[in-house]
Symmetry: C2
Subunit: 630 residues, 2 copies
Amino acid sequence: MTTTSVHPAWLPTEAWRPIGTRRVRVDVTGTVRDEVRAACALHGGELVTTGEADLILRIGGADGYAITRERHVTTVSSATHAGLLHGLFATVRMGESAFVPGPRIDSAPAFARRMLDHWDNLDVHPVMGQVERGYAGGSLFWRAGALRTADLPRVRDYARLLASIGINAVALNNVNVHATEARLLTDRLPDLVTLADVFRPYAVRVHLAVTFAAPIVLGGLDTADPLDPAVRAWWSVTLAAVYERIPDFGGVLVKADSEGRPGPFAYGRTHADGANMLAEALAPHGGVVHWRAFVYNHRQDWRDRTTDRARAAYDHFAPLDGAFAGNVVLQVKHGPMDFQPREPISPVLAAMPRTRLAMELQITQEYTGQQRHVCYLAPMWSAVISGAPAARELAGVANTGDDPFWTGHPLAQANLYAFGRLAWDPSLAPETILDEWITLTFDPDDAAREALHAIMDESWRTYERYTAPLGVGFMVRPGHHYGPDVDGYEYTPWGTYHFADRDGVGVDRTVATGTGYTGLYPYPWNEIFESLADCPDELLLFMHHVPYTHVLRSGETVIQHIYDTHFAGVSEVEAMRERWQRIKIAPDVHARVSTLLDEQLRSAIEWRDQINTYFFRKSGIGDIRGRKIY
Amino acid sequence: MTTTSVHPAWLPTEAWRPIGTRRVRVDVTGTVRDEVRAACALHGGELVTTGEADLILRIGGADGYAITRERHVTTVSSATHAGLLHGLFATVRMGESAFVPGPRIDSAPAFARRMLDHWDNLDVHPVMGQVERGYAGGSLFWRAGALRTADLPRVRDYARLLASIGINAVALNNVNVHATEARLLTDRLPDLVTLADVFRPYAVRVHLAVTFAAPIVLGGLDTADPLDPAVRAWWSVTLAAVYERIPDFGGVLVKADSEGRPGPFAYGRTHADGANMLAEALAPHGGVVHWRAFVYNHRQDWRDRTTDRARAAYDHFAPLDGAFAGNVVLQVKHGPMDFQPREPISPVLAAMPRTRLAMELQITQEYTGQQRHVCYLAPMWSAVISGAPAARELAGVANTGDDPFWTGHPLAQANLYAFGRLAWDPSLAPETILDEWITLTFDPDDAAREALHAIMDESWRTYERYTAPLGVGFMVRPGHHYGPDVDGYEYTPWGTYHFADRDGVGVDRTVATGTGYTGLYPYPWNEIFESLADCPDELLLFMHHVPYTHVLRSGETVIQHIYDTHFAGVSEVEAMRERWQRIKIAPDVHARVSTLLDEQLRSAIEWRDQINTYFFRKSGIGDIRGRKIY
């Protein structure tokens, strides 16, 4: 008779409440037995294979897990080691109710692969640093070119953290693969082996971002042409060598022909040619290719009104539907641009029924406050996931690092948590997920719980209110993307424009008079977006160029909506800050969040004033409520 | 009887034409004899102290030099080793005419100190690189933290280059003094000694940029308070140790209380307190303090219309007139902002009659095309020097580096050349100086000479035409400052605004309704700038906010002037490029400049289109000539 307390290290302070002391019995058979034993040991307990127990883990059942709660015993069953682990963590989330008799719970993940993509660099990049778009300190894996071997215990905690929310795949390096990163495929492979060994007990398979030019830069070939036999042979041999060392290697992730990365276009080949070559090399080993659809002309001429970056992924990839091998996963950003706080769902996600699609979300808050602003993203994700039923996998860009709170902003942990939970079960309501996270993280009293909900539930909509209006996007400082700069990208090659002049603002993407983007959607969305009357307000300026005096569906004019939402957004941040000041919570968390809320308020005011002043200077139309516009 | 050919290595190809073979006799007396002998040897010849000669160098005469040209002999006389050197180089410039009998030439420098300030970093700065605002490759002196000891022969060539144009002082490190640079005062002093030994034969004294916090960061004191006796003692002892190793050390250069640099404000002291403390430590050794007047609030709130960066240097320093020690040189940028292509002369230069003033020019083309654009700056400098007769020294921020052409753009050499020549004799016409440089560098035929003048003479005004209009300044990409971004600095803390709205543009700096800046000038300039009717067009938007329909003194409206100058500027660059394509010149120079002219044209078109579109979108007023505005 032994006891175990199983809890993920969600906070470094181990603030996630353990179940308590429960006797555990595990019924396992066959080869997975030792793995589960090891995994349970890592969780701080021991297996009990005979005798009395409060919790029985039993392998044998559906993919996913089942939990039966009888009078004296609760049983977790699964067909797989991974399912058993996830069931075990489910009992942690349930707390005492896991041990109260009740109906059988059957749970299976909605997305077969639930993947985190780390944009971690091995070498410190001169501009992007150790982690590209990272706001949580350094990399958990890499520091200044080397594997952080002394810090592998923290990686083990991290693997447990990911397993606890159902993540089962992780890419360990940046999709922008620089010189040193490229070598993880070959002479730096031992680093990957070491990390795979850490992740394996938690049923998290490791993937690797590779450069399409690897046959040249690593293999010494003079081409990377995907149809060249020598190139194909090089990939086969090289990847086979990876599988020799990492039999459960997940596969490769590729950003090709995008923002300067090499790709098949250099050889007059298609993306399908490129992806299928890799797929062929991986297929014998059960690996997959994640091929990113983030391909567009990043040297566009702002003077050219016919090119539309929003169309790019569709125009590049939709014609290739059906051309990709079965183990190619086309990884598509949820929106057509680049992780703005508000975008329509990418039309690619409805245009490729014969292609395996992953939807890519950005957990790291590049455009949503950079983990200095509270911005709980689950409401946005919940909407886009339900709007894109064709996606069969979910990938998220990680927001974690070696920060003591894992995510820089302590409340940004909720985004990681929510990503995992939505990837398992997208029908969960965002506020329910948040409530789980609050309970597990803080075990708060009612007042603190209420305050946390008041601060976080609507924080994404608050962020949207004080930043770029009505879906127009961008208006951030170029480069680092923090804070406002309305014209920052307006005359650049990046294809991210708002076209504001003294009369109006917005991008005409209609079929009738614009770039034709709205026509890429299936009915009824093509008609809804095309129609000025029917287009949802929050996407109006993404789809249409309108006068400042245009009246929204809400009944307000565009210009008055801009003023109103920006004043409202700042007021909401002020309210957040006041609530936080009164909350009772762990002192280190309280202090960190307090400092960050000061910055969020400063930044929100800056956004409000720049946006309002910009549009007042352009339109000449004052605020009907007479508030201060500089 | 020996011969000598004396020519500075102006181009790495030694393209500067040597005089030819001339017999040289040098009459020298006393202690300088050996130095001149050594200097002559470095120039590639030998002294001839007896017998026949075509050129006699004679020490004994005025400060500066005299050249007498008699039938059989030309004699150069000077009171000093330095004067003799400069006279010798004058004969190089004169070419054959130095040996044709003619009237005696007396020449003395207008500015006693003619100084180059290198913004070179020792360590590679993560943002600014090896050379801050450097566009000519790496540093001649430093690489990745270390002195380039293997490349000292090139430093020797560089010293000769500077001597050939009369430069007699050089600061060897960036005014933004980081950790490693600070140590040049103490344990890295041997590096400075090595460089001083290289510069000494060419009569160029070395100066050092120091951090005001040195007593803390190097001395281990807990304060840098300039009135603290321990601080004063530390500086005295430390600087005395420098003079022990470098007896002709020039002194220190300080950027204090500016853009985050430490300074006397932290201790409630004035800039005079700070500068005088250093002056006291330097005085026994004959050294000077160059104290920069570039002090302003770089965390301004763009919403605050009362703070005016243009006033800052005046407001900080004018009240201190008379308070500085005799060996303090207050180093004042030529304009009140920051080296824009067009600024009024800084009012500080007319406001401090009891202070020794240096005017600071920027030879490195931070805001004037970054050595990718042809922009011959002598016309601007000639005007600002003649407008500020109170300045007694001239300092220029160096545009040189380890690029094979010394200055990146081969034609940017003309700016370095002109800086030295104007510092010696500001009455020289810019086109005369350019002609000297063309002759010495290319020895071209008439067609090539004419083409070079056509390309370069007006190139600064061309640059002005296609960039920010009518003196308003900035409108560059933040950070790197290359290319247009009209609103790039508009909502930033840097104090550089244009206040364009749908009705008009410009900064109201009048006494009547604005910031009062115009009132800082002596009569008649205060009245001229204050008056909308009298203010020169080229400074109109620096002084006034006017409607787009305001009619300039030229008879055009502001908006039409913007369109016309921007179309004209691009046409002029096209003409430059065509002329260059036809010119006959050294192939390496031709190739480099051709590539750069392609970039200049691309950039000029980008400027034209962004500026025109920006103001068309704001004003709604079309071009009366119907040209394409995007």
